[in-house]
Symmetry: C2
Subunit: 451 residues, 2 copies
C-alpha cells in the first residue's frame, strides 16, 4: 500500500504524470483522482469546440478514460475530489459519490490545475454568470449556444482566454461586449503591441471597453444585467475570464511552500517542500529562465512536460524540467499574437539593467507571393546586449517564428547573435530577411536596417 | 579614381553590397556591372512567376533600377559583363554595348552569382533546351507558356530547382517527365525523407524517373526528342536543372583561392585571397558551422547577408558573417520540405563520430483542429549527444519549424537540450508537443516517446 502512487488531477499534467510513471514502472498501483467528469483533454481546445469548429467534446480527449484504465492500467476515478492531505501519515481524504473517503499513498503528485479567478461581487453566483475552465463548463455552454438562446454576452477580462471566448461567441453570432479593468488588452504584451490586438477585436464588431471596472450583475425581472463602470449592460450571458489561480489548496493547507500567485514551488524534479509530494502543471510556479526566479505562467506545454517529469521521477526514472521562458501564442480573430521572454514592461519591472525595445515590420513571405502579410515584431533587449524577449503580431505565421526567439533565449543569446541565424527562405513561406533579423539589425545599428 | 568601388553582379548579393556601402559611405563612387538586363530581383521567385502566381516579372524586383540609380546614387550598368580582372593594376575589363571597356577600382566585390551546370551532351544548345537561372530566361519561357505552345516537357534534374520548375510547368498544364541520374530526388535529403517528396511529385501525375541518365537531345524533323537512358522522349521543351556552379571565373583566373565546387574562399569579412577583392553570394563557399569547414550552398539569405557584409566592410564599416548551417526550405506541390545542418548521409561522410538519425511524426497543430496535418521530422545527432541536423516534411508549416533547429545548431545544442525548449502552443498553430520535441524525446529515450 505504501507504494501506491496517487495523482490529484486528471488534466494534461496529471495524466502525463500517471502515464510517465506507468512507462517507467509497469507494476505500480496508480490512482488518479479527477474532480470533474472528464480527464486528459486539451483545455485550450475549448474555444474551438464552442465555436463549432470541433464537433464533439470527446474530440478534445488525448485518449478516452477507457484507454488509460485498460491499456495503461491507471485507476482513473472521475468525480473524485481531493479534500485534505496528511503528509505525515501519507494519506489523502477525498470525496467520491457523495462520500468522504481516504486513500494512503507512497507518493503523491498534485496536478490539480488552475481555477478561474472568481471576484467577490454581487450576483456572480447567478446561473448565467459562467466561467469556462472545464470541459463540463464548455459542454453546458455549448448546449445553450446550440439552442440559439444566447444573443448577447458580456465577457469580463481581455486576457487571452477572454479574447478566445469573445472570438468563439462571435463565431456563433452572439453580440458582445468585452470589458477589461486594465487600460489595454492582454496585459502580457507591451501596450503598442496590445493596441494592434484591440484594433482587430473591434474590427469584428466587438464592443471592447478598456480601463473600466466590472461591478457585478443583477437581475432585472428575468433579464440579466451586467454592471460595468456605473452602466447597466443587458446580456443573456456573462463570461468571467479574469485569470487563473493555482488550485493548490490541498497542498498549501498541508504546508507546502508557495511562490508567485500562491503557486507551489518545486525543484527541477518537481518535488514540493512536502516529503513524497510532487507537483506539476497549472498549480506550480516553475523557474523562469530569463527572470532567474519562479513565475506563474499556467500554459499547456509546461503542464504536460512537468507532469511527465514528475511521473518519471516518482517512478524511479531520470528527468528534469529546467524551466520556461514564457512562450505563448494565441489566435485573436484573424491575428496570430505571440510572445516569449519578457515584455519591455516586465523587463523594466524585473531587471536591474535598463532594457529597450526595438520594433520592426517585416513580411510573412516574399512580398510578391500571394497572401504575403506584414509581421510586426518587437525585440526586448539590453542596449546592444542580452536578448530578453520578443512579441509578434501578424495575419501570417508567427507561432513558429516566436519559437526561434524562445530557442535563442534558452541559449542565452545576445541580440547581435540573432543576426547570424541561418533561417529558412522560400518565397511561399518566408522573406529573404526574416522579420526577426530586421528587428535585430535595427537593434544593433538603427541606421543600417535594409529598406 | 582609386577609391571607386566596383561590384560585379547586380543580383541580391551585389546590390546588397552596393547598398550597404552607400549606407556607410554617402560619397563614394559605386559602379555595379550586371551582365543581364535585370538587377536586384528575387531569383527564387521565378517558379511562381512562371506558374502565373506572380503576374509581372518586375514584381520580383526588390527595387527597380531607377531606385538604385537615383535614390542610392549607384551607377548600375545593365548588360555589362566582367571579362578579366587585373588585381595588380586594380583594373577590370568588361563588355558593354558590344565594346570592350576598362574600369579602375579601389575595391572590388565579386558577386557574380551562380551559373547553371551545362552538360557536354549532344543537342543541348538547341533553342528549346533551356536553363532558368535569370529573369531573362524566365521572361522568355513565360512568353512560350502564355502562348500555349508547350504541352510536354522534360525536366532534367530533381533537385529543388528541378522540382520547383516541375510544379510551375504543371500549374500551366504542361505534361511532364522529370529525369534524375541519382536514385532519389533532392540529394540534400536523406533517402527516406526524399521518398516522401517523390511520392508527392508522382501523385500530381508527373512521370518521375530516378536513377536514369540524361543523354542529350536530338531533333526529329521539327520535333524535339530527349534521350533518357536509351529511350527517346518527345517534348516541346527540355529544362536543364542540373545544379549551379559558382560564376567565379573572373576572380579565379586572376588567382583567387577557391574551395568546394570551385567557389571563392573568403574570411568573415568577405575578403578573398586577392588584395582589395571581396566576394559574396552564390560564388563563394562560406564557413559551414556544423561541418567546421567551407561549403558551397548557394542560397538567398546567405547571398543577401554576405553581400551586405562585403559592402559594409569595403566602405569602412564593421560587419562579420560567421557562416551557415545549411538551412533551406522548398515547396514541392502541396508539401513543404525543410532541412538544416547535416543529413545522416552528409554527417556520415563528413564527421568522425558515428551519427544516427531519429524519426518521429507529429502534428502541425492540435489533432482536433481543422487542417491539422502530420509533420515528419528526422533529427540527425551523435548518439545521446551533439545535434547535427534536421529534416521536416509536411503539408502544414515546417519553414519556421526548421528554424528552431537552425537556431539550436547555431547555439551548439545537444539533442537533449531540445527537450527543454519552451515552444509556443495554441490549437490552431501547434500541438502541445511540437514534432521536434517528440523526435528529441525519442532520440534520448526511445521507449519514452509519448504515445
Amino acid at each position: 500500500m505504501a507504494q501506491r502512487l496517487v495523482v490529484i488531477g486528471g488534466g494534461a499534467a496529471g495524466m502525463s504524470a500517471a502515464s510517465a510513471a506507468r512507462r517507467v514502472d509497469p507494476e505500480r498501483e496508480i490512482v488518479v483522482l479527477e474532480a470533474t467528469g472528464h480527464a486528459a483533454y486539451g483545455l485550450c481546445g475549448i474555444p474551438y469546440y464552442l465555436a463549432g469548429l470541433v464537433e464533439r467534446a470527446e474530440a478534445l480527449y488525448s485518449y478516452p478514460p477507457s484507454y488509460f484504465r485498460q491499456r495503461r492500467r491507471i485507476d482513473l476515478r472521475l468525480h473524485a475530489e481531493a479534500v485534505e492531505l496528511d503528509p505525515e501519515r501519507r494519506e489523502l481524504r477525498y470525496r467520491e459519490g457523495g462520500q468522504d473517503r481516504r486513500l494512503a499513498y507512497g507518493d503523491l503528485v498534485v496536478a490539480a490545475g488552475g481555477a478561474p479567478v472568481q471576484p467577490a461581487l454581487p450576483g456572480v453566483t447567478d446561473a448565467r454568470v459562467v466561467t469556462v475552465r472545464t470541459l463540463e463548463d464548455a459542454v453546458a455552454l455549448r448546449a445553450l449556444l446550440d439552442e440559439g438562446r444566447l444573443r448577447t454576452a458580456v465577457v469580463v477580462g481581455a486576457g487571452y482566454v477572454g479574447l478566445e471566448m469573445a472570438e468563439a461567441l462571435h463565431a456563433r453570432g452572439v453580440r458582445m461586449t468585452v470589458v477589461e479593468a486594465a487600460a489595454q488588452v492582454m496585459p502580457n504584451l507591451d501596450e503598442p503591441v496590445a493596441a494592434l490586438v484591440a484594433d482587430e477585436v473591434r474590427r469584428h464588431g466587438v464592443d471592447l471597453r478598456l480601463g473600466v471596472p466590472f461591478e457585478g450583475v443583477r437581475r432585472d425581472g428575468d433579464a440579466l444585467v451586467a454592471l460595468v463602470d456605473g452602466a447597466a449592460l443587458p446580456a443573456d450571458l456573462v463570461v468571467l475570464a479574469m485569470g487563473v489561480r493555482p488550485a493548490a489548496d490541498v497542498a498549501t493547507l498541508a504546508g507546502a511552500r508557495t511562490g508567485p500567485a500562491g503557486a507551489l514551488l518545486v525543484d527541477e524534479e518537481m518535488c514540493t517542500t512536502l516529503p513524497s509530494v510532487y507537483a506539476a502543471g497549472d498549480c506550480i510556479a516553475p523557474q523562469h529562465l530569463v527572470l532567474g526566479r519562479p513565475a506563474y505562467l499556467p500554459l499547456g506545454p509546461a503542464g504536460n512536460k512537468t507532469g511527465r517529469v514528475a511521473g518519471t521521477v516518482v517512478a524511479g526514472g531520470t528527468a528534469r524540467f529546467r524551466g520556461v521562458v514564457g512562450t505563448a501564442v494565441v489566435k485573436v480573430f484573424n491575428l496570430a499574437v505571440a510572445r516569449t521572454g519578457l515584455t519591455l514592461t516586465e523587463a523594466r519591472q524585473a531587471l536591474g539593467a535598463e532594457p529597450v525595445a526595438t520594433d520592426a515590420v517585416g513580411r510573412s513571405c516574399a512580398k510578391y507571393y500571394p497572401g504575403s502579410e506584414p509581421v510586426t515584431v518587437r525585440l526586448v533587449h539590453e542596449p546592444g546586449g542580452r536578448l530578453l524577449g520578443a512579441q509578434f503580431v501578424s495575419r501570417g505565421e508567427v507561432a513558429k517564428r516566436v519559437d526561434v526567439v524562445a530557442t535563442a533565449l534558452q541559449a542565452g543569446f545576445d541580440v547581435a547573435d540573432l543576426l547570424h541565424l541561418d533561417l529558412s527562405y522560400a518565397p511561399p513561406y518566408a522573406p529573404v530577411y526574416e522579420p526577426v533579423l530586421l528587428a535585430a539589425q535595427a537593434a544593433i545599428a538603427p541606421s543600417a536596417v535594409p529598406a
